[in-house]
Symmetry: C2
């Protein structure tokens, strides 16, 4: 067995099922090893950001790590932006980076870089291989480290990959969360009981079905309001689930919402902070005087924390008592007339099938979508956790391969779409069931807005040239077809509805460029 | 004056003329400042790799730094692959990265990253701002540090950008090389004189007109053979210039060439090393027993070094004595028949106009081009210095903006083209005079070749899926039009010639997808 085979077999034994790869000469032994282990599906990305974004999407939906295979320092660097989002999403990811043969590294060949320095910016665990013999245990350790929701990066010299090593495969240590810290639960419960208007702020696994069920109980027992962070990794939404207020993006609006409460319990959520700092604006968004408990879910299971809190607050209420607290199905009617961002969101909300996965990277154009969210048929919703744009189409690829029977829908801003457009080719190659809606407003609208908010007045010629995308206009229909994804351009609600319906009937990927008014 | 204005004005004073930018909310003060200083031209890239690759192309041609403006850690990360090439090319580049406001950083907002850790992987100089008041001197120091051929990265907190600071602009310390180290020259001259078959290995500025003129003299005086590194940043080539042997890519061929010589003088070149390490293959490529002198050109001017060496070897020979040593014009005839990689190279060589700039990222498809190079009308040639693919189209953008009157021609591999295709949009927007020839062989051919060379035999299904680009085939004609660059697809020599001629007659950018047999 080669070192590369040790990695692949150890990963397969640990139930890794997919590898998003863009390999080169220093990963050839790993490429060859993938032919010896049929249980890991290799998926080629034409750019590393596709691979890492797809691994994030896969991991969020499947709640287990995908493997990536990236080429040296530049390959990892190209994947960092989407790994940054994965880190913020607490997605388990297992990166394998091929490095130069160990004996050539001291001579600094052209592709040589400080890969570990790059890796540590996004990885909770990283290691540079020291021999073929430890690669199985390195892989097991990397995978084990990823399970609590972090990125593991194993940098493997080419000679360690190709060298023969013992056949023994190390089993990954089974992962389990620690027991819930009951003193924190008591503290949180007392806070809720003693407050007039308490709020739970949820993120991470608290927003999956089990966590939400417990949160609904807490609400029923305590009148505690339920909020979610601005950009959750993955949440279940729709009718029959509790209605959560999503903390707004702009700090003034967020501050206004949070000022309504006099105590906070944060489960899996960092303390709410402005996304950007504004001169004279708030940084920390919770009202200063409000007491708070923050329960970290790195070592504890968020759902178990909520269940413990709920049970401390009293016996569970029944379905009927819960029902009025839950979202009732209220699917918006189909709009007509000029195609605006709001109408685009309403059409998606109206037509999306039960159980679909919605990827939201619509930036300014998707703002209104969430107002429909709690009232739709149940679905899964992924957002841009780390603010590093270009995740939408790769994330959708990974989500679609994680759940091939579910429809994936991406609401994708046009500016952001141009960061990792290569994802469309992999969607076509893998026949991923993804409808991409490009929100074509032909501007970096958020930057325009922030420019005005910052008080610079109307942008001059130079500033304008750095915000507008209209000269030349991007033609996403051509771009998409160029990568093998059928596409249409629409500028009326009626045509958007027709194309969206066509997309739902289609098995593979498609793209709709929605020219927004 | 704001801190941002201090940066922009200091850069303008130091003769920075262009800024390749992809800004966000943390760079708005810099965006606004660009409207106050009209001598710096802002150029928008839709992805940061476009900006950094363009800065590399601009800097190689113009031999002075372009500025880039990038958004936080993810923005810098997206630019690292092409900065890696720039670092290997010894291109001066001045990066400015906007960071979060200093007061919000401790609260770790979503986009927060360790930007300095990323910066240090490619930068010779980097600094994180500590106040608005020092930004002018920081900028001057960064620019000064870049002049010897390295990357400077200034990370500037948003609040330092917007804060008011004194109006004083710090002048950049004027840059000059150190005097040539005469003891090294004596040592090198003696080596050449005492050897039977000495060779000069040139890189960096040694390959510009002045260096080449001195190298030709050295050859005339000493029979010293002239070689160049495998992947020079920028060299002048064509009839009337000395003919240099380019060290081959594969270490066995390189070793065979280098074994012919018994002494080496390296000017600006690292010692020749295999690009990748191969089991049982050579790492260091110079024959063990051959004495060598390596003259670093980080602090000394490569051209001055060669001139000193030449003058030590005796009085200059005249034009007539030099003439037989120089390349004579011998432009290849136009081929006919099926379009192969070799014929594509021959057509480009035959039709390229005098004074053009040739960007070579053809990887396996461009191998035969250099055989024509010394015999063409004089032109400038840029190559993939760091092996980080995806530099071709961005580099061409920067080169075209550096020299708007010269035709730029990019020989671009299809696999590599998909790393930074967004460069085409900026080429269209800026009406850059670039003809991009896509070498469409629909495979990562080099990886296939390396796979076979490594002895893995015929790739299995998994390995094949990670090397082939044919399902679905990429349609570069659509991709290019989607970004506003007129394009054509050709599969015969005759049609390639016709489209190439059309491209030469056209003022703005165009793309030819050459389907290779």
């Amino acid at each position: 067995m080669t070192g590369a085979e040790a990695i692949i077999k150890t990963a397969a034994r640990a139930n890794v099922e997919i590898c998003f790869a863009n390999p080169g000469t220093t990963e050839l032994a790993l490429v060859a090893a993938l032919d010896c282990e049929k249980s890991i599906r290799p998926v080629l990305g034409l750019f590393e950001g596709v691979c890492t974004g797809a691994a994030d999407g896969y991991g969020r939906v499947k709640q287990k790590p995908a493997m990536t295979l990236l080429h040296l320092g530049p390959g990892l660097a190209n994947g960092i932006a989407n790994l940054h989002n994965a880190r913020r999403a607490r997605t388990p990811v297992f990166n394998v980076i091929g490095d130069h043969a160990s004996w050539i590294r001291p001579y600094d060949p052209p592709l040589n870089m400080d890969i570990a320095a790059l890796a540590q910016t996004v990885s909770g665990w990283h290691k540079t291989s020291d021999s073929a013999g430890t690669l199985s245990s390195d892989t097991a350790a990397a995978l084990s480290a990823s399970r609590c929701g972090q990125i593991s990066t194993l940098i493997v010299a080419a000679d360690h990959q190709s060298k023969t090593c013992p056949d023994a495969i190390v089993e990954e240590e089974s992962f389990s969360f620690q027991n819930v810290d009951s003193s924190m639960i008591v503290h949180a419960a007392n806070l809720i009981r003693n407050a007039k208007r308490p709020a739970l702020i949820l993120s991470d696994k608290a927003l999956r079905a089990r966590g939400l069920a417990a949160a609904a109980q807490i609400r029923a027992k305590s009148e505690c309001d339920l909020l979610m962070v601005t950009f959750p990794a993955c949440f279940e939404a729709g009718a029959g689930l509790p209605v959560l207020k999503r903390i707004p993006y702009f700090p003034d609006s967020a501050g206004k919402l949070l000022a309504k409460y006099d105590a906070f319990v944060l489960v899996g959520a960092p303390q709410p902070t402005a996304f950007f700092g504004y001169e004279g604006g708030a940084t920390l968004l919770l009202p200063d005087e409000a007491p708070r408990v923050r329960i970290d879910t790195f070592k504890q299971d968020a759902a178990a924390v909520l269940e413990a809190l709920s049970s401390f607050l009293g016996p569970d209420v029944g379905r009927e008592a819960l029902a009025p607290l839950m979202g009732q199905q209220a699917i918006p009617g189909l709009p007509t007339g000029a195609l605006t961002a709001e109408k685009m969101c309403a059409v998606v909300a109206a037509l999306q099938p039960e159980g679909c996965i919605l990827v939201e990277e619509g930036i300014s154009s998707a703002v209104s979508y969430y107002s429909h969210s709690p009232y739709l048929k149940p679905y899964t919703h992924l957002t841009l956790t780390g603010g590093s744009i270009g995740m939408g189409m790769p994330l959708a690829l990974g989500a679609a391969l994680a759940e091939p029977d579910r429809q994936v829908i991406t609401i994708q801003a046009d500016g952001s779409a141009m960061y990792t457009p290569q994802a469309l080719w992999s969607q076509a190659r893998e026949q991923a069931r993804v409808i991409t809606v490009i929100c074509s407003n032909r501007t970096y609208f958020t930057i325009e807005l922030e420019y005005l908010r910052a008080g610079y007045g109307q942008p001059g010629e130079a500033a304008r040239s750095l915000m507008s995308l209209d000269a030349p206009p991007l033609d996403f229909e051509s771009l998409s077809r160029g990568m093998g994804v059928p596409a249409a351009r629409v500028d009326t609600v009626e045509r958007f509805i027709a194309e969206f319906r066509k997309g739902l009937a289609h098995q593979g990927p498609c793209l709709i460029e929605a020219i927004l008014k």
